[in-house]
């Protein structure tokens, strides 16, 4: 009982609220993105340029030149990632692979973003 009291002193009501809200946020993210369908296409966006759309069903490396230099995007086995980037922090590379619809990785310093789309086709599947 004494210990419990000590703990409640350790956590103030604000902390508890914060923890709960944070947990909610995580739950919300999981429930929204965990079951997201796997995408068909990779959309590469750079500033105001026309987005480049590539099939995820290929193994290739795309070089895109951005604000700082060339970023390399690696497509393999239905997923994509930043594999090289001229930015200093390399957050985009650390994000790793994406393959689910609406997943997005943005490299702010080099102003390039990649996101997964389902090709927004009104189809159930694509014959290629």
């Amino acid at each position: 009982m004494k210990k419990l009291l000590q703990r409640t002193k350790l956590f103030k009501i604000g902390d508890i609220l914060f923890i709960i809200l944070f947990t909610c946020l995580i739950m919300f993210s999981i429930s929204n993105y965990w079951d997201a369908p796997v995408g068909q296409y990779l959309k590469i966006e750079k500033n105001n340029d026309e987005p480049k759309i590539l099939s995820l069903n290929q193994n290739s490396n795309e070089k895109i030149s951005g604000l700082l230099g060339d970023s390399e995007i690696n497509i393999s086995e239905g997923k994509a990632r930043f594999s090289k980037s001229p930015c200093t922090k390399k957050y985009c590379i650390h994000q790793g692979w994406v393959n689910k619809v609406n997943q997005t990785v943005v490299c702010l310093p080099n102003q390039i973003s990649i996101s997964i789309t389902d090709g927004n086709e009104p189809f159930d599947s694509v014959n290629y």
Binding site: I20, M27, F28, N57, E121, V126, N127
Partner: protein
């Protein structure tokens, strides 16, 4: 109190996640491509279970029928290339070989799974394509002694080849075979409405609610669909194109679809799509017979389609023409046409 409300809110919120969706979708990377299964209006647990069964079977087939990795086919190819008999106690592979002999014969060997060695010579037996054109003399030598499925002699469990160049490559058959097996798995588990797509080879079971399954047909030169079709229950659709496995050298495209009569990648088409009505092997037919129609010269395509009893076809040619059968043209919804000349054939 506030805390309790929050917990309650969280509980209600999370409960909402378990809503029943009408289509359950599953994807895996098998056969070097994306496999996509959609199951309509079934219990999620059952759908999960059956899709796993199908993926397991596909994984098995991928290893079992792999054209160049160590396995049954590579063992057989090695024995036959040395002129030795290959003895196999496996009724499934014997059935597969016999079906391939028949498919090749009917297609006038435009479908030729016996020329794996030539595919390898062109560098297509590798995940990473090397951009080399084999020497013209090596191609000429090979074509002059072209191995055919009819070179195989099968007696009971003994397989022999009369041509040492014989090297089986089921790359144009395995996905179709897998589709037909998926159909059996789904049907025997009482799943009535599903769509299975293995790297573009598709089979439809039943419908998607009150409408048919809708399938987009990839544009051979754009990242979008050129057209779409509504696939009736039990039908299969298959496309062969020069845009998935190819390399470009000196501005010329070399795809994996090699003409057995010349030894060179066929250059006249960009893609060929065929639709096959329900049958026990409609998946196999849709996979195997899109190749002959792609490879054959323009003037032979229509006649070949007739002799193969393919009524539904669409061929995007390299000369800005699209050849489409009358039957197919009744089915197709064009989406992205530029100024191609569409020729309806009878």
């Amino acid at each position: 109190m506030l805390l309790r409300n929050l917990i309650l809110f969280l509980f209600i919120f999370l409960n909402g996640c378990g809503q029943k969706e009408s289509v359950h979708q599953y994807k895996e990377y098998i056969f070097g491509t994306i496999v996509d299964i959609k199951i309509y209006e079934e219990d999620k647990q059952k759908s999960d279970q059956i899709s796993d069964l199908i993926f397991d079977d596909f994984q098995r087939l991928h290893k079992y029928l792999h054209p160049w990795k160590k396995g049954l086919i590579s063992d057989m190819n090695l024995s036959l290339s040395k002129g030795k008999n290959f003895i196999v106690d496996d009724p499934e592979i014997i059935r597969i070989l016999q079906e391939n002999i028949e498919l090749a014969q009917k297609s006038n060997n435009y479908f030729n799974p016996a020329m794996g060695k030539l595919i390898g010579l062109w560098g297509f037996h590798s995940e990473n394509l090397n951009q080399n054109i084999p020497s013209s003399s090596s191609i000429k030598d090979f074509v002059s002694n072209m191995p055919l499925m009819s070179d195989l002699v099968i007696t009971d469990k003994i397989i022999k080849s009369q041509n040492k160049n014989f090297q089986l490559d089921l790359g144009g058959y395995a996905k179709g075979y897998a589709l037909d097996r998926a159909k059996v798995i789904l049907e025997s588990n009482n799943i009535k409405n599903a769509l299975v797509n293995i790297g573009g080879n598709i089979i439809a079971l039943g419908k998607r609610g009150d409408r048919k399954w809708r399938v987009g047909i990839q544009h051979p030169r754009k990242p979008s669909a050129i057209a779409s079709v509504d696939l009736s229950p039990g039908w299969s659709i298959g496309t062969s194109g020069d845009y998935q496995r190819y390399f470009i050298l000196k501005e010329k495209r070399y795809s994996h679809l090699i003409d057995p009569h010349t030894g060179y990648p066929s250059q006249n088409s960009q893609s060929t799509t065929i639709m096959i009505p329900p049958s026990a092997n409609s998946g196999v037919i849709s996979d195997a017979y899109s190749k002959p129609l792609f490879i054959a010269p323009e003037e032979r395509k229509i006649e070949l389609a007739k002799s193969l009893s393919i009524d539904f076809y669409m061929i995007v040619m390299n000369n800005n023409k699209i050849l489409i059968s009358k039957e197919m043209s009744n089915y197709i919804n064009w989406i992205d046409l530029d100024n191609e000349e569409i020729i309806t054939t009878h």
